[in-house]
């Protein structure tokens, strides 16, 4: 076991019921686990939701996260995707002011301009963690005025 702090992407299948989200978030605070982000939505089966939780901790903490989540009656399955091949994406919406250079930069990163109003662009971007970091690097020198992020969603690559 390693004591190194690492980010983990935990994918949790839960009953799509009233109160489940509250139950899970209160578990994290009661046990002192740090959530970086949490995204929830229905799955292909409308009675089941999937939560993608990004949490930072050492191996021991992650083992407890897994076990404590599994202990909740409404949790069906917990997967630490970090241990497997996975694809992750996050959606960002932000406002940024700039010129044609900025537009070119945005184009290069496949960020889409949804609206433009007197030099203020409303931009949509969807990408992996790495792509998002690259975008931010590419936008250095411009000031992002307002931003909202969905938090990461992720899915395992293998069949199961």
């Amino acid at each position: 076991m390693s004591n190194k702090l690492k980010k983990h992407i935990v994918s949790v299948l839960v009953e799509n019921k009233f109160g489940v989200l509250a139950h899970i978030s209160s578990l994290f605070s009661a046990r002192g686990f740090n959530i970086d982000s949490l995204a929830v939505g229905e799955t292909e089966d409308p009675t089941i939701s999937r939560m993608t939780i990004v949490v930072t901790g050492d191996d021991r903490t992650l083992e407890q996260v897994d076990k404590q989540l599994n202990k909740l009656i409404d949790v069906i399955r917990v997967d630490d995707l970090t241990k497997r091949g996975f694809v992750d994406r996050e959606l960002l919406l932000f406002k940024i002011e700039g010129d044609s250079n900025l537009k070119a930069a945005l184009g290069k990163f496949k960020a889409e301009i949804l609206n433009e109003n007197r030099g203020m662009m409303l931009v949509q971007f969807c990408g992996s963690k790495k792509e998002t970091e690259e975008l931010f690097n590419g936008l250095k020198g411009y000031e992002i005025k307002e931003m909202v992020r969905t938090g990461k969603i992720a899915i395992a690559k293998d069949k199961e």
Binding site: Q64, K71, D74
Partner: protein, 557 residues
């Protein structure tokens, strides 16, 4: 035929073989009360405080092994059971708590006596429900009893809005529960069990460290077999007391902060710890970095989250203690050589016996020893929390499971008396005692009215030291005897008992102890004995907080 939600609730409880509900009514429970009026199968036992009802349901469950049930009204009634839920949750006790709630269309509107009980109870229950529609009611009750009593048991709360109790529906009690997300593992992994057997065979200094899980799963026979056939000594936790008979030569009694010296020496020097239904609580391990440095660990528990939480485990086995031990016994084909080890332990038992200063003063330990003699270790003993709790743990000889009821995890003062009451209701023919401190007893003393009304013959033994003794002990040892807020100016407990119609006896001298205990035992109804004991007696042995558990102070250790 269509039945009201209230009737469905009662019929469902009957299907679950509930014979008693502990509780206090209120406006939002009126439809249920009205149906109970005609119900012959279930007694509603009216306590005088909701906390009393919750602990009584807990005591009933611990002593009988059945699910305890309590029912209280919304808002303040419901918030009054919070401590009871947390107590039961910490010690894995199956109770179903039904709380009245405002009408569904008023929820969230700050209606009169509304409180968000599913929110409040989330982290102190195993699961909870808000019933929003009568069509879910029977299923939820079925699930609640199932969840409370299976896997690692625990309390389940059902929040029941008044309008749901009035809605009507056909009654069909489900035969089975269908929960895809909840499937506790009962049988241990055969490969792990085989590895465990091999490790045990090779060990030279093994110790079995048994907790409340042994009692919950009814594994005492299997545990005894493992110990006896392989010559392995057994120590238990506070909640594991009674899981292994303390009269047995292999018994090390309790371990931990106030454990016996020989139990602590043994676990610290062991080369193998077989943890069964216990969780390496900090009061057990002491300073964790120095805990049992040479020991490999086999950990058997039904709750995977208990394993590898506090200590590194070599062989984790998730499963029901009884099932796993039974499989393990079958797999044991070579007895470990523990002769030298048992000899060493016998040496420790001789050099460091559990003892106290037995002079002509009235000392609390003496009272417990006398009680043990008179009852031959066969009574049900509930305790409050404090020094008296530790003396009851150490000086009563625990021989049978489900006879020692104490708030181990949460340490709830005020638990013992209502728990004793619940235990007595579930075991009308047994002798039930609450060993109390003068501080703790006052936290639920109102239940004297309940035992008087229902003639519940619980015997309360107050070890009255005129202080909050356990806190005072820490002040004496670690804070220079600066007794801030621990001396107590007490009422006359005998008069209080008599005021409630309960027999009261005061004892101030050692030579009167036996007579008073005998009188209490032969009295048909409840009795309170107020023992005025030596005020500055301490619980020893003791491991100072933050120390390794073989570094014991005092107590002739």
């Amino acid at each position: 035929m269509k039945l009201s939600g209230a009737q469905i609730l009662i019929n469902s409880l009957i299907k679950e073989n509930v014979d008693v509900i502990f509780g206090i009514p209120g406006g939002y429970l009126l439809p249920v009360l009205d149906k109970l009026y005609d119900c012959k199968e279930i007694q509603f036992l009216l306590t005088r405080h909701e906390q009393g009802a919750a602990h009584a349901a807990d005591g009933y469950a611990r002593a009988t092994g059945k699910v305890g049930v309590c029912m209280v009204t919304s808002g303040p009634g419901a918030t009054n059971i919070v401590t009871g839920l947390a107590t039961a949750n910490f010690d894995s006790i199956p109770i179903v708590a039904i709380t009245g709630q405002v009408n569904t269309n008023m929820i969230g509107n700050d209606a009169f006596q509304e409180a968000d009980l599913t929110g409040i109870s989330r982290s102190i229950t195993k699961h909870n429900y808000l019933v929003k529609d009568v069509k879910d009611l029977a299923r939820i009750i079925k699930e609640a009893f199932y969840i409370a009593s299976t896997g690692r048991p625990g309390p389940v709360l059902i929040d029941l809005p008044k309008d749901v109790t009035l809605q009507e529906m056909d009654f069909n009690y489900p035969k089975k529960v269908n929960l895809r997300s909840y499937n506790p593992t009962y049988t241990g992994h055969p490969g792990q069990i085989k590895r465990a057997a091999a490790l045990i065979s090779e060990s030279r200094r093994p110790v079995i460290y048994a907790g409340g899980g042994v009692i919950i799963s009814g594994a005492e026979k299997e545990l005894k077999e493992l110990a006896e056939k392989n010559g392995i000594p057994v120590t238990t936790t506070l909640t594991g007391l009674g899981g292994f008979p303390e009269t047995h030569p292999l018994s090390l009694k309790m371990l931990g902060m106030h454990g016996s010296a020989y139990a602590n020496f043994a676990i610290m020097d062991s080369d193998l710890i077989i943890a069964v239904g216990s969780r390496f609580d900090d009061r057990v391990t002491g300073k964790i970095d120095e805990f049992a440095p040479d020991a490999k660990v086999i950990h058997i528990d039904i709750d995977p989250s208990s394993i590898s939480k506090n200590v590194k485990v070599d062989i984790p086995i998730v499963g029901d203690c009884r099932s796993v031990l039974s499989d393990l016994n079958k797999k044991m084909n070579k007895k470990p050589n523990t002769n030298a080890w048992l000899k060493q332990i016998d040496g420790w038992k001789k050099t460091h016996p559990l003892t106290y200063r037995d002079d002509n003063k009235l000392r609390p330990q003496y009272i417990i020893e006398e009680l043990n003699k008179l009852t031959e270790g066969k009574a049900i003993i509930a305790t409050e929390v404090g020094q008296h709790q530790m003396w009851a743990a150490l000086f009563y000889q625990h021989i049978k499971p489900r006879t020692f009821l104490t708030s181990g995890g949460l340490g709830t003062m005020g638990y013992g008396f209502p728990a004793a009451m619940g235990a007595q209701v579930g075991n009308p023919d047994k002798l039930v005692f609450d060993i109390a401190g003068d501080g703790s007893i006052q936290m639920n003393i109102q239940e004297l009215a309940t035992v008087a009304e229902y003639k519940i013959p619980v015997k309360i033994l107050i070890l009255n030291n005129s202080c909050l003794g356990m806190v005072r002990q820490w002040q004496e040892l670690f804070y220079d005897k600066r007794y801030q807020s621990t001396p107590l100016k007490n009422p006359d407990f005998v008069k209080i008992a008599e005021g409630y119609g309960v027999k009261g006896i005061k004892v101030t001298k050692k030579q009167d102890v036996t007579k008073a205990l005998k009188e209490a035992i032969k009295t048909a109804g409840p009795v309170l004995i107020d023992f005025h004991v030596e005020g500055e007696e301490n619980v020893f042995p003791m491991v100072a907080p933050g120390n390794a558990i073989n570094k014991m102070m005092g107590g002739l250790a």
